[in-house]
């Protein structure tokens, strides 16, 4: 175990530095880069807190779609397998299972990458 501050706490501090002091002290493309770097630190801060649980759930959900045991599997291999099976085509039942599963996985990913993005679900545009 590392000592406090935790990774998440340190990343929040780096984000504060980038978004406040450094942003104010720069201009033009460098200012934009500082803003982007600050936003990336916020993402990594959330990833440090939520990432492990998100990935564990992703593995469970993907394994469920594929009808395989989740134990000992990783998200990358399961994603590759799912892509391969979707690519082979023609499995309507698999596609119908995959859609809500991927929506759930993306809610978890967006809670880290862009909280709130999933609040808009395009209902008004599908009328």
């Amino acid at each position: 175990m590392q000592d406090r501050p935790t990774a998440s706490e340190l990343l929040a501090s780096i984000a504060d530095l980038l978004e406040q002091e450094l942003l104010a002290a720069t201009q033009g493309p460098l200012q934009h880069a500082a803003r982007v770097a600050g936003s990336l630190c916020r993402i990594l801060e959330r990833e440090a807190r939520l990432g492990a649980a998100q990935e564990a759930r992703e593995i469970e959900v993907l394994a469920g779609v594929l009808g395989e045991p989740a134990g000992g599997r990783d998200a990358l291999t399961l994603s590759e397998t799912l892509v391969h099976r979707l690519d082979t085509g023609g499995d309507a039942a698999l596609e119908r299972r995959a859609w809500p599963a991927l929506v759930e996985i993306l809610r978890g990913k967006l809670a880290i990458a862009k909280p709130g993005h999933d609040a808009w679900d395009f209902t008004a545009e599908l009328e």
């Binding site: 799912l82 979707l86 990458a113 862009k114 395009f122």
Partner: protein, 336 residues
């Protein structure tokens, strides 16, 4: 001589030659400096007349998507068609004047940065609907023009741009650094629900969106950035304009965060276009998938060292947003 001074003298020398007059260049400023192009604002003084201009310079000819004279010809084509586009004064393929090929256009006053465009709307609530309608009218005029009159080197998508786009996107999905089940699923649905080839092909802008428009209090003044202009399905431009990423958080206003689809469609039809809702939805969904792949491509360009940049790196963490958007747009295909 510093590079700035070199550009100033190069522009003056080129325009003097082009116009057969004495020309001075003043008030030079760099509006944008990307890897692929630089936009330089300046005033040309000719016989006491002050002419506000922009030079679009390709700093490295190796990275240009299309030759500069082809891009300039698209602006001329659009202007002749009655679409607001900056007037082209001159084209220069000789890299010796300013360090790369360039063209010179009229400088159109107005806002281009999306958040500034949306701020104009806060001052005038009638501007958004008007702007959406004007976008429809402008695109209808462009699409009505005969593609046979475009530059012979304009990019073609074959007789069926739907098929060509599906194949290009399929290749990009396969080349992703990480597998994307969401994009794979989306591609399957887009393949299955593909519309027939369009009744007629048109010259399409290819990147007509909030961010590439010059907007004033009166509305649309010009469409910029014609480098991926090509012959394709007219609904492609409308779908691209309406994807969520160009709304800049004004999600409920489908057209660039400033207007409603009904206003866009009304403008398009009033100017002689035919708005096709099913085809539009297909292209909007396809545009969303494409931009997701574009962002993944930016992250890849950072990681493989071809364009190392924190901004490009950050794009990789935005891909999930587009995966979400594309799955929501296809909800009816999988969750009736």
């Amino acid at each position: 001589m510093n590079p700035f001074e070199q550009v100033r003298e190069g522009l003056a020398a080129f325009l003097a030659k082009e116009w057969g007059a004495t020309v001075e260049v003043e008030n030079l400023s760099i509006a944008s400096a990307g890897a692929r192009r630089r936009n330089v604002l300046f005033d040309a003084l000719r016989d006491g007349e002050r002419i506000p201009l922009v030079a679009t310079i390709i700093p490295n000819a190796a990275v240009q998507i299309m030759p500069i004279e082809v891009e300039a010809s698209h602006l001329r084509f659009a202007e002749a068609a009655g679409m607001p586009a900056p007037h082209v004064h001159a084209v220069c393929e000789d890299a010796s004047f300013v360090g790369g090929p360039f063209f010179v256009t009229t400088r159109v006053a107005g806002e281009t940065i999306p958040r500034q465009v949306l701020r104009l709307l806060e001052k005038d609530p009638a501007l958004g609907p008007r702007l959406a309608r004007q976008c429809g009218e402008a695109l209808a005029r462009l699409h009505a023009a005969d593609p046979a009159r475009a530059h012979p080197r304009i990019a073609l998508a074959g007789s069926d741009p739907i098929e060509a786009t599906l194949r290009a996107v399929e290749a990009l999905v396969r080349e992703l650094l990480q597998p994307s089940p969401a994009f794979t699923l989306a591609l399957r649905a887009l393949e299955r629900e593909r519309p027939p080839p369009p009744a007629r092909l048109a010259v399409v802008h290819g990147d007509f969106r909030n961010g590439n428009l010059i907007v004033g209090p009166d509305g649309l003044r010009a469409a910029l950035d014609w480098e991926i202009c090509h012959v394709g399905d007219p609904m492609e431009d409308l779908g691209w304009l309406c994807q969520r990423m160009w709304r800049f958080r004004n999600d409920a206003l489908e057209v660039g965060g400033f207007g409603a689809r009904a206003d866009l469609a009304a403008g398009y039809e009033a100017a002689g276009g035919r708005f096709e809702p099913v085809r539009f939805h297909w292209w909007k969904t396809m545009s969303t998938l494409r931009w997701g792949l574009g962002l993944a491509g930016q992250a890849k360009a950072h990681l493989d060292g071809s364009v190392p940049s924190i901004v490009m790196a950050a794009s990789g963490r935005r891909v999930a947003e587009l995966e979400w958007d594309v799955l929501m747009l296809l909800r009816r295909s999988f969750a009736p």
